[in-house]
Subunit: 311 residues, 4 copies
């Protein structure tokens, strides 16, 4: 099997899991959101990533979200399912379930609880066990801000030798590492930028696209940065990239999932409340967020939901 | 309800969850281990802590371990159940289950996945929601080496205002913070050292005892350090404390749960394999570990299992 | 030469270098301050430590401060001179000058600029070169908050094999390491706590005293903590220790040298301005500081300078 | 005065200070090295940066190096002098001396010893005081690996409001920050990449060039990366960029100044020994380094000094 079978080039939003007022998974809202996003030339979706609150969901809810998403995502777009758990066997089980439901690939976050024990050897064994068991291709997921562990280029290259491991979403922001992964791993190994804040520099170092929280609320802009880059229009790419930084900060490391969901509510999608312990964005913060969205032209007269209450 | 109802003074091993060769929970071994530890004047046990591989177990296994432990722990010793999950509702559910099974208190690790969002406000809401819902007293669990978050004394003092939150297990090793928690929180708030490496200095700053991985393999020594301290025999306490540091390092931040289980196998208890992705201690490491145990007189001719194979 | 020749047991203030309104070294104020401190049973003084703004002084000023201090410090108290520079040869030169001026020992901070290069081998060579060249005993100085490097117990034990290296001031606050240094180094190797915030737990692990910024403004309390400890009065020691934490925080990691100097000005000593880039404490902060000093009874009616202006 | 008076676009090696076998500054070697580098289209040189071992030199040696360099650097190339000291007044004095000697600009590393005190206010006052006093333009220098402090984009933008502060050398490697500085500071504010490992992504985010240790040993390759980028030849730029990463790592965060000097000795320049506590590269490391230089084609038959001994 060649790693080129599944080409990842493109932009993916890691979609939030919507909850209703009682805290239950709002499957209708999820379906509706995907319908909105489908209007853009996104390559696909990541379901049950960090923004999908995977770790907040119980076993049943995880399958419910995957099934709902699969039904809503057209077959010409990829569905990538987040399936990384702390234990290897739990990761394998969720991976197999995702494949059965029809995911095109899985995105596997490294285990991280016993940080001192997560040696290259342990990680290699974990990922290769998962990749052996997975009926669909595996994409690594490096997310040091959540896991406290930053996979090195050397470790990634080692793990990437498995033929069923086709790429990585790297949210660490270290662009030198992206270059290093290119140097050390097979040329077919595909790197996706894990945050819109460094999309352009990641592309300049050889990334093939990105899984970007920002693509949930500004898909057109994310797609444009990449298109400008591909056309060699670096000045335009950079201007848009720089313009998006404050928006991206607000909905990622700044205020996180609550802000992303609030921004979605300000636009033409359903955000709703996060699950506890995450608290909804305060009114004050929501006002600041709105100003940031306006300044960056993500929120415009036409894009906003005029009658939305609460913000 | 006064916080003094449940007095925590004393030493607790955070007991590992034994697995058999097929990776299933070995309930008989768990029962047998507790029988061995019951010979010591331990105040009780922490079940499903970090050394109990809580995060590796599925829902059913967690209840199985709690039930097995409860049956084996005599009523004059405390059973403290680890119930901290990433979501508040999951934590509440496991806490209620633990109470039903007969736990005397719960030990609740803070959620940590969305590190940037774990503000004092979020943590306060989370812990108070759990404490409101819990039929039994709640003990906070601060474990920065695993969570990447170190609860500040100020945040702990704030959370500790809830009458059903009676203490903290602090594994961070910052003894100034132990003093600060004494200063800022109510005098009834009880601090337990989270590692044997700083048991004596923690006691000197007002800790009432400890939840110590080392107490699984060297309960007598852990108890002695505290007894010497209580009698004012500081030189003896210090000598024993210093003697235990290398053993403690080996089975905690050095080589972790695999080494703790290996050490148990060298002694009169069942350790067995950890669950993947954790790998069993290599033979080379096991030899080093044995030497460390011998040098510190934790492993002696009488204490070892002579016919044990594999080490 | 035996390491026991110079016994370090006791409490030392690391004295600030006073500057006048023009920013010049205020030698008279230095002399006067030492006269005030001499009334206490301090074991001696550290001159040109971090609080002495060593790195702010030019070569001439360093000698001026050492000479002034030596003249003011009685012969029954130790004068320990800070002489650590980034280059080995500069450290040797300042060490020799300090010896000529009459220092009893030198306190040598490790070089730290090229952090990645400060391997055990490099540090060993550096300290042994200095110790070979020094006519007086050498005390290591570990100060991770300023250097970004935390010397490990293993490295310290290796360096401590030199007969002219008699101890360490450790400001890192890791009391397990204090125990480990006791275990790994020669019994004659003397550990001094580097901050009053962990004086008691450090003593409980075998430290022989402390170099404490707090001793500049609360020498009696620092001495009392140690005396209570030596008499086995742990409760009293702990109460005083805990009471001092907020004061200590304020003048060390909280607001630093500017706050220490401001506190000195509120008491019976001369603090004066720090040297730029350090800015004097703002009026708001000074009010907060005064309240902290009052609450901890460091500042009382009799201790304060009633007619002091500006605070 | 407009910030555009001094245009920084281009590549600069931060040149090492050569020492002879006795440890004295080898002025002839410095002159000769500059003569070699002058054959390339470098925009200029940084003298007395981190690779210039500024912090290892005494006052007299600093002036000696600046004078020697100035004499060797042609007037159409810029000489940028490193003048950052821990005290503001020392920084001002060295800055004025550098201007008198003929430096075109100064590169000022932020003070960092009292890390907790280096607030935006303190840093602003420091840099503005220096910029007020400096007869020549000031370039900020952010070097978290050495200082332990990473200047934020917000703080840099604030400091950059001074008309005599024209740019920054940023060695932190955070390319998002480079974009953010572009967004927050005046468009005339010029960013120079501080390491060759992220030259290309930095350029993609708007950097105008780089101060690159690698440019001491591979000036042609560093210049080519930028030229390819300016021509829109991103694939070629990326290939060369990726090829240079291991070389750059070896002479920077890998083995540092000793490796840079060793590599210079392997090529057509004089490296010589670093100053203690830095130790020369071991023979084993030097062999590894040589292999790395060969593999990346930095060291070729024509480039190497065939009769060089010791490597």
């Amino acid at each position: 099997m060649s790693k080129k079978v599944l080409r990842l080039e493109g932009i993916y939003p890691p979609i939030p899991t919507p909850f209703d007022a009682e805290g239950k998974v709002a499957t209708n809202a999820l379906t509706e959101n995907v319908r909105v996003w489908n209007q853009h030339k996104l390559r696909g979706y990541v379901v049950l990533g960090s923004n999908g609150e995977l770790i907040m969901l119980d076993d049943r809810e995880r399958l419910q979200v995957l099934e709902t998403a699969r039904a809503a995502i057209p077959s010409d777009k990829l569905m990538i399912a987040g399936t990384g758990c702390q234990s290897t066997v739990a990761t394998v089980n969720l991976t197999r379930d995702a494949a059965k439901i029809g995911a095109d690939a899985v995105l596997v976050l490294n285990p991280s609880y016993y940080k001192g024990r997560m040696t290259p050897e342990v990680l290699l064994r974990h990922f290769h066990t998962v990749a052996d068991a997975s009926p669909i291709p595996v994409i690594l997921y490096n997310m040091p801000a959540c896991t406290g562990i930053d996979l090195s280029a050397e470790t990634v290259a080692l793990i990437a030798e498995h033929e069923n491991i086709i790429g990585i979403k790297d949210s660490g922001g270290n662009v030198v590492k992206i270059g290093d992964m290119r140097r050390l791993a097979d040329r077919d190994f595909q790197v996706l930028a894990g945050s819109a804040s460094f999309l352009l520099p990641a592309l300049s170092m050889g990334a093939v696209g990105g899984v970007l929280a920002l693509a949930n609320i500004a898909p057109a802009q994310c797609l444009s940065i990449r298109e400008h880059f591909l056309k060699g229009e670096l000045d335009q790419a950079r201007d848009l990239q720089v313009q998006m930084i404050p928006v991206n900060n607000a909905v990622t490391r700044g205020w996180g999932v609550p802000a992303l969901k609030a921004a979605m509510d300000m636009l033409d999608t359903y955000g709703g409340p996060p699950r506890l312990p995450l608290l909804p964005l305060s009114k004050e913060r929501a006002h600041e967020l709105k100003a940031i969205l306006r300044k960056a032209e993500v929120l415009t007269e036409t894009a906003s939901k005029e009658n939305k209450e609460g913000w």
